[in-house]
């Protein structure tokens, strides 16, 4: 993965618009967060291989960036995106990594299903 280049990523987001795509979206502060610090409120969410069709995909803000997908009847968004990659299978992988190298958020878009 490389650091987000706004123009390049915007172009890639456009390429997946207006067709059925598989989404992976996760955000987490880790299963151990409350173990190491009991004052931490442990929260996260995860969806994988849900099919959506967005009409507009947009990158906003300075790094860490925000990505929003506008659907005919709703929205998907992720904040904290630092890195991106179009992988060898043509999937658009976006992720936010904190200073210690831990993943904090991921948003991925693919025309074919992700593995299990």
């Amino acid at each position: 993965m490389e650091l987000v280049q706004v123009e390049r990523l915007q172009e890639l987001l456009n390429n997946f618009a207006n067709e059925d795509v598989y989404i992976h979206l996760e955000t987490t502060n880790g299963a151990y967060a409350a173990h190491f610090n009991e004052s931490v409120f442990n929260a996260g969410a995860f969806i994988r291989n849900v099919i959506i069709r967005y009409e507009l995909g947009k990158i906003a803000g300075e790094s860490p960036h925000r990505i929003g997908l506008k659907l005919p009847h709703g929205w998907v968004y992720a904040q904290g995106i630092t890195h991106f990659e179009l992988d060898e299978h043509g999937r658009l992988l976006m992720a936010g990594h904190d200073q210690t190298g831990k993943l904090a958020v991921a948003l991925q878009i693919s025309k074919t299903p992700f593995t299990y």
Binding site: T82, H83, E85, L103, A104
Partner: protein
């Protein structure tokens, strides 16, 4: 330390690297003693958060990285019967409970263990850990008492010592320290920070770090104090 003889040891954990910190020395010691060990790992740690910055892997390439690490760890410990069970990280507790018990029953009937090592439900912090221990204990509970394998359970939640007391089983694994370090190093994508920390603590002469390379601790699961 020579550990008591066992017919077969079955180790069941949900994540590659779960064995490294708390059990790899014990596993290596059994293998040195010629006792067959089966290690069943339920997931490939697909949802691991240590991906580096700059990242060395993506969410999609991490499973292969961790699979290779698991294979390397098994090799370091001398494990030849490694089973990858194909579940997904962080979803174990959401699988059908009965399906999970069946998975454990199949592992038991396949390996006929005299000893099972897994997590202590409710005291193992990660939901996958608790779910794994829960399924295994349910499977063993359904066996006739005289046929049940002994269960060594791992607990490390902050309240575990307070509630369960000190672990009753302490293995001195000094002679397998090399294998244990091998297992730890095999899982480098997940253990790098831990190893760094440990080197620092060893350099500072902290006895706890040394402790960790010398001893592994378990609770013999007691069905008279069942978790449910």
């Amino acid at each position: 330390m020579t550990l008591p003889m066992e017919r077969h040891v079955l180790v069941v954990f949900p994540h590659p690297d779960d064995e490294a910190f708390g059990v790899s020395g014990t596993i290596a010691t059994y293998i040195k003693q010629g006792i067959p060990v089966t290690y069943a790992c339920l997931t490939l740690g697909e949802m691991g958060r240590n991906l580096g910055n700059p990242p060395f892997a993506t969410r999609e390439t991490l499973p292969q990285v961790r699979k290779d690490e698991l294979l390397a760890s098994a090799k370091a410990m001398g494990v030849t019967d490694l089973r990858m069970m194909g579940l997904r990280d962080k979803t174990v507790e959401f699988e059908d409970d009965e399906k999970m018990v069946e998975m454990m029953q199949n592992l038991i009937s396949d390996t006929n263990p005299s000893l099972v090592i897994t997590f202590y439900p409710n005291y193992a912090v990660h939901p996958d850990h608790d779910a794994t221990g829960r399924a295994m204990i349910r499977a063993v509970r359904r066996m006739p008492e005289e046929q049940r394998p002994t269960i060594y359970a791992l607990a490390f939640s902050n309240d575990s010592k307070e509630v369960l007391g000190e672990p009753d089983i302490v293995h001195n694994i000094k002679e397998a320290a090399e294998q244990k370090m091998g297992s730890m190093r095999a899982h480098i994508s997940q253990t790098a920070w831990m190893l760094e920390e440990m080197d620092k603590r060893l350099a500072d002469g902290e006895t706890e770090a040394e402790n960790w390379l010398n001893f592994e601790r378990f609770y013999t699961y007691d069905f008279s104090k069942d978790f449910e």
